[in-house]
């Protein structure tokens, strides 16, 4: 069996001046993920190595880290795919965020932006007895945004975020997209007005880092593009929404 050197960035702000890398030897076996390797290190070599994780299958969003310079979820990353030519894998915390300890970052600004876009639906006052009717196509348009697991990989890969934590960020803009595009939402106009502020959709430099970083293959840039267009024709969009909401309790006509 071959061994791999796992290099883990260590930093405890209470005692360390600056971060450093620790090296651990791990056996490379079939099916082992990077998260498995971190668990092995923690459980068998150094109990103080600190990282977040929970679900183990890329749905809870806990384990986003930076591996060999790329943001990803480590729980579904096969170890063997990330061994460099020198037999090493280098794991660092998500960049551009304050480090709490080792691989654990402080996502405060990330969550503040999430709250800022008011992630909750604002439904019409009249709620039907049963479900609001939505067509499969309307649902499909939301599918990407709905699937976002808020791991922060895109946020910490974004050059604009790196420069200013005031920028809403790709994750929260994707969430805003989810609400703006949802036919059940009654406040798309207000939302678009807010996104039109200096730190909103027009701050995006379209560098596409967020797309590369997203472990779920989502496309925040495209969502931001769409929002920009809607900001430009906000009133027409609001009117169309008001119109659509007239028939939310009616069956979708099937041709």
């Amino acid at each position: 069996m071959t061994n791999v050197t796992i290099r883990v960035q260590r930093f405890n702000p209470d005692v360390d001046q600056k971060p450093h890398l620790d090296e651990f030897q791990i056996e490379l076996t079939q099916g082992k993920t990077i998260l498995d390797a971190l668990h092995e290190i923690k459980e068998e070599q150094d109990g103080s190595v600190t990282f977040r994780r929970s679900c183990r299958h890329a749905i809870c969003g806990s384990c986003a880290m930076n591996v060999n310079g790329v943001n990803m979820l480590v729980c579904d990353a096969p170890l063997k795919d990330f061994v460099d030519r020198r037999g090493r894998v280098t794991i660092r915390p998500l960049p551009y965020l304050p480090i709490i300890k080792d691989l654990v970052v402080d996502r405060t600004s990330f969550w503040e932006q999430y709250q800022r876009v008011k992630p909750w639906l604002l439904p019409p006052d009249d709620v039907p007895e049963k479900e609001f009717r939505m067509s499969p196509d309307e649902v499909k348009a939301l599918q990407d945004a709905e699937h976002c697991i808020m791991c922060g990989a895109c946020y910490s890969a974004c050059q604009v975020v790196a420069m200013s934590k005031k920028y809403i960020g790709p994750h929260a803009l994707l969430k805003a997209f989810l609400r703006v595009l949802d036919p059940r939402d009654s406040a798309p106009g207000e939302r678009l007005t807010d996104l039109d502020q200096g730190d909103g959709v027009f701050r995006c430099h379209t560098i596409f880092n967020c797309i590369d970083a997203c472990p779920k293959h989502l496309n925040p840039t495209q969502a931001i593009e769409t929002l920009r267009k809607l900001v430009m024709k906000r009133q027409a969009f609001e009117a169309a929404r008001a119109q659509r909401q007239q028939s939310l309790d009616q069956p979708i006509s099937v041709e």
């Binding site: 405890n12 209470d14 005692v15 099916g31 993920t33 923690k42 459980e43 068998e44 150094d46 109990g47 103080s48 600190t50 990282f51 994780r53 929970s54 679900c55 183990r56 299958h57 890329a58 749905i59 809870c60 969003g61 806990s62 579904d76 096969p78 709490i100 300890k101 654990v104 996502r107 709250q115 008011k118 992630p119 909750w120 639906l121 439904p123 709620v127 007895e129 049963k130 479900e131 609001f132 009717r133 939505m134 067509s135 499969p136 309307e138 649902v139 939301l142 599918q143 709905e146 699937h147 697991i149 989810l178 609400r179 949802d182 059940r184 939402d185 069956p251 979708i252 006509s253 099937v254």
Partner: protein
């Protein structure tokens, strides 16, 4: 731990999954202003978000095209046509699924509330998959006689969790994110608060509340192969038990038939709901021999036992013969991408198998805990067979035993149960607070007690010998897997109890390497391992006493249900010296309408 200060709230909820978040949101909506949730994970990381397949409710949106086919395609029910489903039928299926151990009064409430709770989720913004005419789409699920699993692709739990969290934020509920509860304070049968660590700083806090509610989730981490998140260590049940509260029906642990081979990660039951086959090493659909009518869509306990029998008799797949094949190739490319995108990713990433072209290797995986903290239909925790309440203490979701799932839960009924009873607990708590509940003075010094507990993990051991919590946990998982798994018997269960006793002694030597205060997950690992040991002993002891086979509890030495002696709930009461003392509680049964029958599928 450095410093401390008391924190007080009217209501303190532990756990930000569906159960806890519903309770907090509702209590707040009902007018209680000071409601807080603490969660060891960020709320959106809670395991509810991992649920894939769906949430059950008799909405009557779809029906089989051919009414006689148990597995064929579905179509929307045209307006005006007769409904095929009802809460009565949902109730009947759930009772049978529970092997008649579910309390029928509670089941009735759950299935009746189901319809409203699913519509409420929809109104709150949950993006469900749709039928062509715009209704919530439904699929088949095991043990349900009609399609009633309402779904959002195969990430249903994810959208439900996000939706309810968003609403709780909107409602102004306060969240303590990444705070870990490690001690529950119950004195004179009154719950007064708890002790928690702020994980980020490592500070210990005494948190006092007029009402405490647990929605701390399940405890599959006591087994080697499990679908459960690493956070599912049963902290809540262990905390309650340590505080003197009994645990109910802990012997009933569900093994899901389709965990990914060697990983245990879930391949949703939706795979079979959508029409997937289970085959052995000769390519036979072996379910024909075990449940000829429902086949792959028999309830989970039956399918998992069938798989294990195939494996034990040498008909498994993979090099070690410990796997079974889940074959979905005939569903076709399009259907798989539309309905099972997440499952496909999982098989690709972890097993290197594309389910569009190849069968996926799977095996039974520890999945769901039917037992837990005994509570009534309002989430009020009770302490004995008479239903004596523990004042100010509530529980719902997977950590609770209400008991709607009895000896075996049906798929899609647990997102439902967590939501329905979380919501009901919210209302009950609001009533309790508004009825004049007060903060109660605490007699002991729980903060100091827990400071010492933590300090001991960091100290040097008297004799220089130390154990690692990880090694203890590993051994525990080995014995639980071998001896308290799908098939049990007296010898194995006694062996497990001996092992657990020994491991509990070893645990005294456990020390951590991380001596720092900040974000110390080494300490959390030690605390969680202790919790695993605590409830595993209860599981093994309850299983040993129950000399029958019922639902998920299957004894090779007592291989049939024994309604005469065992149609009753186990209550395991803590007893400092030698493990739990067991007592029993009657099951709520409507003898006229739903008497026990032979359970055949």
């Amino acid at each position: 731990m450095s410093q401390s200060s008391d924190i007080t709230h009217d209501v303190l909820v532990v756990g930000a999954g569906l159960a806890g978040t519903w309770a907090a949101m509702i209590a707040s909506q009902a007018g209680v202003t000071d409601v807080a949730i603490l969660s060891k994970l960020h709320p959106l990381r809670s395991h509810s978000g991992a649920a894939q397949g769906g949430i059950a409710a008799a909405l009557n949106n779809v029906r089989p095209i051919n009414p006689n086919e148990k597995r064929g395609d579905l179509e929307p029910i045209p307006p005006g046509d007769d409904p095929i489903d009802s809460w009565e039928l949902h109730m009947k299926d759930t009772i049978k699924g529970s092997a008649w151990l579910g309390d029928q009064n509670a089941i009735k409430i759950m299935v009746q509330d189901a319809i409203d709770i699913v519509y409420t989720y929809e109104h709150m913004g949950c993006v469900f998959s749709r039928t062509p005419d715009g209704r919530i789409n439904q699929r088949r699920f095991g043990g349900h006689s009609v399609p009633r699993a309402n779904f959002a692709a195969d990430w249903t739990g994810h959208v439900l969790l996000h939706t309810v969290y968003e609403q709780a934020c909107k409602q102004g509920v306060k969240f303590y994110s990444e705070w870990y509860a490690l001690d529950l304070i119950v004195e004179d049968n009154v719950c007064k608060g708890l002790v928690a660590i702020d994980i980020t700083t490592g500070e210990l806090h005494l948190m006092r509340a007029k009402a405490v509610m647990f929605g701390t989730g399940g405890y599959g981490r006591a087994w080697r192969i499990t679908s459960n998140a690493t956070a599912n260590t049963g902290d809540g049940v262990a905390l309650a038990y340590n505080a003197g509260v009994p645990l109910m029906d802990m012997e009933f642990v569900q093994f899901h038939p389709t965990g990914l081979y060697r990983h245990g990660i879930l391949m949703s039951e939706a795979c079979r709901g959508e029409g997937g086959y289970l085959v052995n090493n000769s390519g036979d659909r072996f379910m024909e021999d075990y449940a000829p009518d429902r086949m792959e869509l028999a309830p989970r306990d039956i399918v998992s036992r069938s798989e294990q029998t195939e494996i034990d008799e040498g008909r498994g797949v993979e090099a070690d013969g410990q796997g079974i094949h889940l074959d979905m190739r005939h569903l076709g490319h399009e259907r798989i991408l539309e309905r099972l995108p997440q499952v496909r990713e999982i098989a690709l990433k972890f097993a290197g198998v594309d389910i569009i072209d190849h069968p996926a290797p799977i095996q039974p995986t520890a999945h769901y805990s039917m037992g837990g903290i005994p509570a009534d239909v309002n989430g009020q925790v009770i302490r004995d067979a008479d239903g004596t309440p523990v004042t100010g203490f509530y529980a719902a979701g997977e950590c609770a035993c209400i008991s709607v799932h009895g000896a075996n839960r049906l798929g899609t009924n647990s997102l439902l149960g967590a939501s329905v009873f979380g919501r009901r607990a919210g209302y009950a708590i609001a009533e309790f607070i508004q009825g004049g509940a007060q903060l109660q003075p605490i007699q002991g010094n729980p903060l100091e007690r827990n400071r010492q507990r933590i300090a001991r993990f960091k100290s040097d051991p008297a004799n220089g010998k130390t154990e690692s919590w990880a090694a203890v946990a590993r051994e525990l998982k080995d014995t639980m897997t071998t001896n308290v798994g799908i098939f049990r018997n007296e010898t194995r269960l006694r062996k497990a109890l001996d092992d657990i006793k020994r491991l509990q002694e070893h645990f005294g030597q456990v020390r951590v390497m991380d001596k720092s205060a900040r974000f110390n997950t080494d300490i959390l690992g030690a605390l969680e391992t202790k919790h695993l040991l605590t409830f595993s002993e209860v599981i093994a002891a309850s299983a040993l006493a129950r000399t029958e086979s019922r639902g998920a509890h299957s004894r090779t030495d007592h291989d049939a249900p024994d309604n005469g002696n065992w149609l009753k709930h186990t209550l395991a009461h803590p007893n400092d010296d030698d493990g739990p003392t067991l007592s029993y509680k009657a099951v709520d049964i409507d003898w006229d309408n739903h008497p026990p029958e032979v359970r055949k599928y």
